[in-house]
Amino acid sequence: MKRLKLDWLILPLFGLAVILAAWAISSATWASNLPSPLKTWESSRDYVLQPFAKRGEMDQGILRFTWYSLVLVAQGYALAVLVGTPIGFLLGLSRTFARTFDPLIQILRPVSPLAWLPLGLVLFLNTGKEAGTYGALFTIAICSMWPTVLNTAVGVRAVPQDYLNVGRVLKLSRWKMLTRILIPATLPYMFTGFRLSLGIAWLVIVAAEMLTGRPGVGGFLWQEYNSLIYEHIILSIIVIGLVGFVLDRLMSLLESRFKTA
């Protein structure tokens, strides 16, 4: 038992040490442009220790940037869920709908955010100054929608026949069938989709901010690359990873709450 506890703490710390060592050695030897861990910390200290400071448009505390990114992701993700869930239900419920749109979905699904973004910008070009925001939202939504769509469809198809029979015996109306039986039965699948979608939405944010130059953790990363402050690239990567991890944990918690249903 004690051993297990130590494993839980010591092994990840050991893993971290290995990576730090590899990083330090690399920056000292073959990758001379890579800042060392120490240098990275020194140059990032202000951003980490005053995480909400605002010194200028592109010079803000790292959590402030992260917050901007989260707000944008939340909007795009909400759009993805709101659009993706009904599409998933239609796919799961109607054979005709599935036959009609399934090939299209399979083709659109693997398209990279880098490809969607320019299209998003073009789509909202006539909104002027806001084109960047709408384009980014469009990209986040369309890239992160697919896991929600597909998992919901699978969940709807997996609703046990017995539950549907209960509804048929009781002659439930379409609305009651949907709200009392189909949605609750599909919920666990839907939440798996929601979790995966959120992961993708967060993945897309960097690309979206890079190309639109919006303030945010991804925009910051790109700007600091252009300003040759490479330490902040690493800082951003670490923050993006941590935030993604926390989001995934939170969604897992939510998901497991609905698993019992």
């Binding site: 539950y163 015996v169 009781l170 002659k171 609750p184």
Partner: protein, 293 residues
């Protein structure tokens, strides 16, 4: 007298990917009197659930038709309460909410308070008075089936259809629930058709036992009158020699004759309503069969 439920020439075939369609049930004829309790017994896989599901309207019959209380039956509806083998309670609802789902459908003219009382009444009759606000996950197998029975009765259906409702329970719980079922059936004057593979259960509960031949193309093989007076008690039944004769006849059919096709396949006659008199008939039939052999 007109039968309450009449199945005539019901049949079910499923298409097979290659070759001729599979005939599961064929020429199935059955008539139920109002208030009668009939069990359907037969080997596993012969098509009992298929028959029940066709009556429930959950499976479309390939041939034949049925009339319930003077009306042609088409599609599922709450006039036929179904108790499934696995109780099929919706796990996101409590036992009470599961029953209410049906009550809301059937008693849509009643006000909310009346509906609540109906659901609570049936739940407490089956012995779930204390546990009705628990989700199925926190109920035992037996309690779930109690809720399943309450849900079916609360619809106040014309016909009760039960598909091996006690098949998954241990025998003590099964005995208990058989009595709960019998009590409810008697109080509410329901007509019931129940599938079972348990010979003793069939004899304890029913007025008639319909024996199905083996599939494919299963149909009614023999029909056994069970004329024990009601209300019945298990002890009284076990003390009656007629019980063992009937039991033997049932087991004899299942073991030796269930593969035989009925000779002329006559539609089973509606038996006379006098129950005590009927109790001697199976014995006589048994004797007759023995002397004829």
């Amino acid at each position: 007298m007109k039968p309450f439920l009449e199945l005539s020439q019901i049949g079910k075939t499923y298409p097979t990917p290659a070759g001729p369609p599979a005939v599961i049930v064929e020429n199935f004829n059955l008539r139920l009197r109002k208030g009668e309790f009939v069990t359907l017994i037969g080997h596993s896989g012969c098509g009992k659930s298929t028959v029940l599901s066709m009556i429930a309207g959950l499976t479309e019959p390939s041939t034949g038709g049925m009339i319930l209380a003077g009306r042609e039956v088409a599609g599922a509806g709450p006039d036929r309460g179904v108790v499934f083998q696995a109780p099929c309670l919706l796990p996101w609802f409590t036992a009470f909410e599961n029953v209410m789902l049906g009550v809301d459908q059937v008693y849509y003219t009643a006000d909310a308070e009346e509906r609540r009382q109906i659901a609570e009444y049936y739940l407490s009759v089956v012995g779930l008075g204390e546990a009705m606000h628990l989700r199925p996950a926190s109920l035992s197998q037996g309690m779930r089936q109690r809720a399943g029975i309450a849900r079916a009765f609360a619809l106040s259906p014309k016909l009760l259809l039960l598909d091996e409702p006690f098949g998954m329970l241990d025998s003590l719980t099964r005995y208990e629930l058989q009595e709960v079922l019998l009590d409810l059936w008697q109080r509410n004057q329901k007509t019931a058709l129940m599938v079972t593979h348990d010979v003793d259960e069939a004899l304890f509960l029913s007025d008639r036992v319909v024996m199905m031949t083996n599939g494919p193309a299963a149909t009614v093989g023999e029909v056994l009158e069970v004329g024990f007076p009601r209300p019945r008690s298990r002890a009284q039944l076990l003390a009656d020699p007629a019980y063992y004769a009937l039991r033997e006849q049932l087991i004899g059919f299942l073991e030796e004759r269930s593969h035989l096709r009925p000779v002329a396949a006559p539609p089973p006659a509606v038996p006379p309503p006098s129950r005590p008199a009927a109790s001697r008939r199976p014995l006589q039939r048994l004797l007759g069969a023995l002397t004829a052999a």
